[in-house]
Symmetry: C2
């Protein structure tokens, strides 16, 4: 069967959805945005937010729309977020009701005051990653793939700043790396690497903030224009899955 010579009405009936793996760093722990399912199957279980792709939108547009609905963030805020396609999950039987092909996306958010800001339909909340939760469908697999991808992207992109507020200290940025990678980093060396990588961060003039109450006030930085880091900021021990 090739792509030409087919009857537009004869295609197999598939549903196309998006699933979202949305991460944030809160209290030094990685958190994920989850919803509690209200209907069978998997009633009462936690699941990744998501929903149908509508007939006239792309999968990425659907992902942004769902993210706005679940978090209550404004459309304009969501339009500027870093959203990345993870991969597509298409096993027959991944949804017991029907054939569903799902395009998974990953988003990184700073620690927000409230996850469910606006819409009353939104009932999503942040749950610590790595807890004992079992997720519905194949969402544990999706979440594991997303975590691995985010960890790898921190190495060679400036994506870690997406976890931080608009202005942040190098201590906060370092905590992002330590939390996602699950390791401790040498503070002096981390500082040097970040500051010598062109375009990673930009100093904010005159700014200063205390990270944890004690200690010397830290200088503030903004995300820089670079999206790729040269040289990369590699994980200790070089652990790296394909």
């Amino acid at each position: 069967m090739t792509v030409e010579g087919y009857d537009p009405r004869a295609f197999p009936p598939f549903a196309v959805t998006v699933d979202l793996a949305v991460f944030t760093v809160r209290d030094g722990r990685l958190h994920v945005l989850l919803i509690e399912r209200g209907t069978e199957p998997y009633q009462g279980a936690w699941a990744l937010p998501g929903g149908f792709v509508l007939p006239r939108e792309s999968a990425e547009q659907a992902a942004r729309r769902e993210l706005a609905e679940e978090t209550g963030l404004s459309e304009s805020t969501v339009a500027g977020l870093h959203l990345e396609q993870l991969r597509t999950y298409s096993d027959p039987g991944r949804d017991p009701r029907m054939r569903v092909v799902s395009v998974a996306y990953t988003a990184l958010l700073p620690d927000l005051p409230e996850p469910r800001g606006g819409g009353d339909a939104a009932h999503a909340c942040w749950k610590a990653h790595g807890g004992p939760q079992r997720l519905a469908f194949d969402h544990e697999r999706i979440l594991a793939d997303a975590h691995e991808r985010v960890g790898a992207k921190l190495e060679y992109t400036g994506l870690a700043t997406a976890f931080c507020p608009a202005e942040f200290t190098l201590g906060e940025l370092r905590q992002v790396y330590e939390t996602v990678w699950g390791v401790e980093l040498d503070r002096p060396n981390f500082r040097r690497k970040v500051l010598t990588t062109p375009g990673f961060v930009e100093a904010v003039e005159g700014g200063a903030r205390l990270t944890g109450g004690r200690g010397k006030p830290a200088a503030l930085y903004r995300a820089g224009p670079a999206n790729a880091l040269h040289p990369p900021l590699l994980r200790p021990e070089g652990r790296h899955s394909t």
Copy 2:
């Protein structure tokens, strides 16, 4: 709209297909497997091979099936090939006839004697990459994404051996890198990097082969068990797109 509380019959009607970006290295040039379209739209234009995902198979199974049909390789051969999901293309209007969501896959093959071995339905052939061809639909974009992904993967995986026959010389392996990256590499340094990277290649005892007729016979190697390279084999100039 959330994933629960939907009527299984009310989903929007989408078709799901796979597209294949299949590469090989032939005569020091990167080649891509293409088919010539016989019907509108884009009649007579070149396109990536691909086809529908069937109701009871995953997208990856569909990709392997289509690859076997187009190349004439046996099912068992195709089952062992390295096939990697690239990303999913879902723009409304990417196919003028109907809503088609396509999961793109990338495969790397050694230089085969004949591309269309078996099935008579297969009319695919190898075309040099980078030529003046304009491809149907959004296939040029898919091909560009695939090329970039392959180039990046050569840096930190042992994937380059997938372009080579079962036993190969280091000169052949180096030519893979030079062809995909479009650069020249220093032969002594390339040799050292490959041989000191654990698990990349294994020596074949007593084997020797001539690469281009002239010169000293080269030792033969097999692909090693490692799939990730530590340390990675980086491109010169560190060019790297996200």
